[in-house]
Amino acid sequence: MDLKFEQIAGFPKSLSETPQHFCPGCTHGVNTRLLAEAIDAMQVSETIVGVCGVGCSALLPDYLDIDMVAAPPGQALSVASGLAHEIGDSGLVFAYVGEGDLYGRGMSTLMHTAIRGEALSVFCANNLNTGMSGGHMSPTSLVGQKTASTPEGKSAVKYGIPIDFTRLLTDIPKTSFIARFKGFTAGDIKKGREYIKRSLLVQKYQRGFTFVEILGICPTNLEMPPTKAVQWVKASTSGIYPSGILKTPEMGRIQ
């Protein structure tokens, strides 16, 4: 039988050749590639502007071959809103922010940007700790999770029990597409690629506020080999941060 070879995976055009600083096994690398793939698939690399937050995401401008603006701590969505106001429907604006930045000091900005319904695609890299700061507790750190600032494990008495911030956004009338996936299992990443595309699509044609949370692993700060970190995060977050689509413009809130 004659065979031909079809390329099923390769290096996306919008991904820059610059070597990335991410630690071995860090899923920021996956997220970056997924963004590049979605940008290529949508053919928007010439009209899209990205905004990145602080921490590990702050070097994204070096890794994506598109126009990018880096924002100060907590203000990524303000910067993205300003860009969106000025650019209007002649382009797309997305923000890629870590959860420590977005759900911590950026929380009020996140809520109000969503309430205003700014035409943005927001991608939140949730890796359960503030990675670049040095692995301290973040708003999504799990109860009992050991971090640099909670060496005995995050105390529910002192810090409460983390909530599903992504679900919180589904209650806001002007949010349109909301989803979450794990950025470390092959099946979920394949779905996630579609979620990212969908969020850009919704932004482009319906001018809505879209939000995708990408659950990731931070092997360095979890102090686990990447393969073990995958198992640990998968097992310990299944109840609190489940994958799937939470809201669509057509069906509203799902689940």
Binding site: D2, Q7, P12, Q20, G25, T27, I189
Partner: protein
């Protein structure tokens, strides 16, 4: 034709690809790249079924995968 092309200079040896490979043909080799990482290698390309799991989970986009598909016989 090569089916699995690995950019070993990008590889950081995290081992996530080896974990998801259904055919278990990806291993962390003893080879060290310029950055000092043990890089991943494919032991037998003939066994690769082109599922793309390795490329999907790879944080550094080190994989290029070609899937063999039969050419339909001319009608």
């Amino acid at each position: 034709m090569k089916r699995v092309i690995i950019d070993q200079q990008r590889c950081k040896g995290c081992g996530l690809c080896a974990q998801v490979c259904p055919r278990k043909i990806l291993v962390l080799s003893g080879m060290i790249n310029i950055n000092g990482y043990h890089v991943v290698a494919c032991t037998d390309e003939e066994l690769c079924m082109g599922c793309g799991n390795c490329a999907t989970v790879c944080p550094v986009t080190a994989f290029e995968i070609y899937k063999p598909v039969p050419i339909a016989a001319a009608l």
